[in-house]
């Protein structure tokens, strides 16, 4: 594609990369591929949790404090109550992913609506929304989540909602910035001169163009949500009926010197998942970045 213009492009826009094959994409970005791979494994394990380890991972199934690989029936060992660590890990994966995605989704929806409205309309609407965003941002995220969970009950939906409520400001700021710049673009002016409604302009014209950095941030938000949930469960403020990586880390706390694998394994699982999500985020960032046009 050649351009026959004499002036440089005004704003780098995120153009659809319609022609690149997936294979070429992955080969060109090995860290992205690695992140996707790891994450895919986590997802598969979580999905297959009921097949691999049917039943409740909190069941006491074996002798306590078995080391990994000591008994191949419990390949990753057992904890102080004889619960299978491997079962806990795969079921915990499920919990982490559910919390991660739903919290991120809630944060995305709220953040996008607030940011889009403020960025598009400007004026006093924007002023109010910006103040609101700042209000939520000044409260430390983790504390806010703890407070909400403490007021409600420590169940998955409440935790997801709490984390979502604590994390929407980041998205809101990002979306607002995108909208503020995109609304000055000529194609938005054209849409207005064609008589399109504000709703159509916001959701159909601008939003698809505003999304790429949001998607990148979202992947990191999922990671953050997983970490927050891990922290909550570690502090025994999570759902007591569920096994999650955080509760396993917390549970193995007392035996750190003797049976450190109880803490280390779920810790590694968390770290790998978060790493994978970060790599995916970086990779998406590169993928979405427009190639600078040759003049």
């Amino acid at each position: 594609m050649s351009s026959d213009t004499t002036r440089a492009a005004s704003l780098p826009l995120f153009v659809p990369k319609s022609r690149r094959g997936l294979a070429a994409l992955l080969l060109g970005h090995p860290t992205f591929a690695a992140g996707l791979f790891i994450f895919a494994i986590v997802v598969l394990l979580a999905l297959g949790a009921d097949i691999l380890y049917p039943g409740d991972p909190q069941d006491m199934v074996g002798p306590p404090l078995l080391w990994p690989f000591a008994d191949m029936e419990y390949p990753l060992g057992t904890d102080s109550l004889g619960r299978d660590v491997a079962a806990g890990l795969v079921h915990g994966a499920r919990v982490s992913l559910i919390i991660g995605f739903s919290a991120a989704a809630i944060g995305l929806v709220i953040g996008t609506l607030v940011g889009a409205a403020g960025g598009f309309f400007g004026g006093y609407v924007d002023n109010i929304l910006v103040r609101l965003t700042e209000l939520f941002q000044t409260v430390p995220t983790f504390l806010l989540v703890i407070v909400i969970v403490a007021i409600g009950e420590p169940s998955l939906p409440v935790m997801a909602a709490a984390i979502g409520i604590a994390s929407w400001p980041t998205i809101a700021r990002l979306v607002r910035a995108q909208f503020r710049s995109l609304r000055e673009q000529d194609f938005v002016m054209a849409a207005r001169s064609l008589g399109y409604s504000d709703a159509r302009i916001i959701f159909v014209e601008i939003l698809p163009n505003a999304l790429p950095p949001v998607v990148v941030t979202a992947s990191v938000m999922v990671a953050g949500a997983i970490l927050t949930e891990t922290g909550l469960s570690f502090l025994n403020m999570g759902d007591p009926n569920l096994v999650s990586w955080g509760s396993m880390i917390g549970g193995g706390r007392e035996m750190l010197r003797t049976a450190w694998f109880l803490t280390a394994l779920p810790g590694i699982a968390t770290a790998l998942t978060v790493l994978a999500l970060n790599l995916i985020g970086d990779g998406l960032n590169e993928v979405f970045n427009p190639r600078m046009r040759e003049r």
Partner: protein
């Protein structure tokens, strides 16, 4: 009755707590079938004027009459039928098309929003429009980044024409294009005008193009019109010193013609510090005392030319 009748139009904006006027009392008319040019340098307000007329930027005073009706007080649904009658072609071929929409989506959405319910009808009209602007129908399923700048301008023109408007405001439509592509687009605009009975308000800083393309032209400086005239008179007999300076500054292709000396002094005053009296006096080679005290009004001369200068 004129197609477009603008009367004492003003557009203000806030900057550092002050209210400044990008368009400061502009009046003119565009008759049906006319191409009126609006020429001036950066900061003169010509682009803002174009956007104000299309109600993309709110005006702060004055009237905009389309076919006799003042559209300034209209909003929303009441404004919609008037919006259809005027459209705009933009300067930047990169920014004027939504990068995430195919050409088909772009064109058919316009029709859908404006009540063409039948899908086949929309497809037919979109395809027809694309071909009318000189692109093949294979263009319909491609994204903007797959086209060159000139082709994107054609798409922008197709978008502007879908609703069969009467007036098209062209905001520097060829300034960002290569010369050989400029010629293509200008020829296309001439053909479309003839075939569809369009009227144009052609905004540009390029005097040569404006001279070629327009029937009448207005020269703007710092938010006001300083001279206007028809293509037969203004270019051969420019009256306002600013018009003369602009014309003299265009590099001549005639090698033997001596390069004329630099005609304008100083710099464009900022909008916050507009000179008293005649705005142009700080750069004018013939400014006298009266120019500082009395702002010259735009007066009409016997031949139909208008000029705002004490000495024209």
């Amino acid at each position: 009755m004129s197609l477009l009748d603008v009367e004492k139009l003003e557009t203000s904006y806030r900057s550092h707590g002050r209210v400044l006027k990008a368009v400061d009392g502009v009046s003119f008319r565009v008759e049906k079938g006319e191409t009126v040019g609006l020429v001036g340098e950066s900061g003169c307000g010509k682009s803002t004027l174009g956007k104000t007329i299309l109600r993309l930027v709110p005006s702060s005073a004055g009237a905009i009459r389309l076919g006799g009706t003042d559209i300034v007080p209209l909003k929303g649904g009441a404004l919609s039928p008037y919006r259809r009658r005027m459209q705009m072609i933009f300067q930047d071929p990169f920014g004027s098309l939504n990068p995430r929409q195919t050409v088909r989506t772009l064109l058919e959405t316009v029709l859908k929003v404006h009540g063409v319910a039948d899908r086949a009808e929309r497809r037919r009209r979109a395809a027809g429009m694309v071909e009318r602007v000189g692109l093949s129908s294979s263009a319909l399923d491609r994204f903007p980044h797959e086209f060159s700048g000139g082709q994107r301008q054609r798409i922008g023109i197709a978008r502007a024409l879908v609703l069969s408007p009467e007036l098209i405001v062209c905001d520097e439509p060829v300034s960002a294009l290569d010369v050989s592509i400029q010629a293509q687009i200008l020829n296309l605009l001439v053909d479309l005008k003839r075939d569809l009975g369009l009227s144009y308000l052609f905004i540009s800083h390029d005097m040569s193009v404006v001279r070629y393309f327009t029937d009448r032209v207005m020269v703007m400086y710092l938010g006001q019109i300083v001279e206007s005239g028809s293509y037969e008179t203004l270019w051969t007999n420019p009256l306002h010193p600013y018009t003369r300076a602009l014309m003299a500054a265009v590099p001549s292709y005639d090698i033997d013609r001596k390069r004329t000396a630099v005609a304008l002094k100083g710099e464009l005053p900022s909008a916050a510090r507009i000179p008293s009296g005649c705005r142009f006096r700080t750069r004018c080679p013939i400014a006298k005392e009266v120019c500082a005290t009395e702002a010259p009004a735009l007066r009409t001369l016997p031949g139909g030319q208008e000029v705002a200068c004490h000495f024209a």
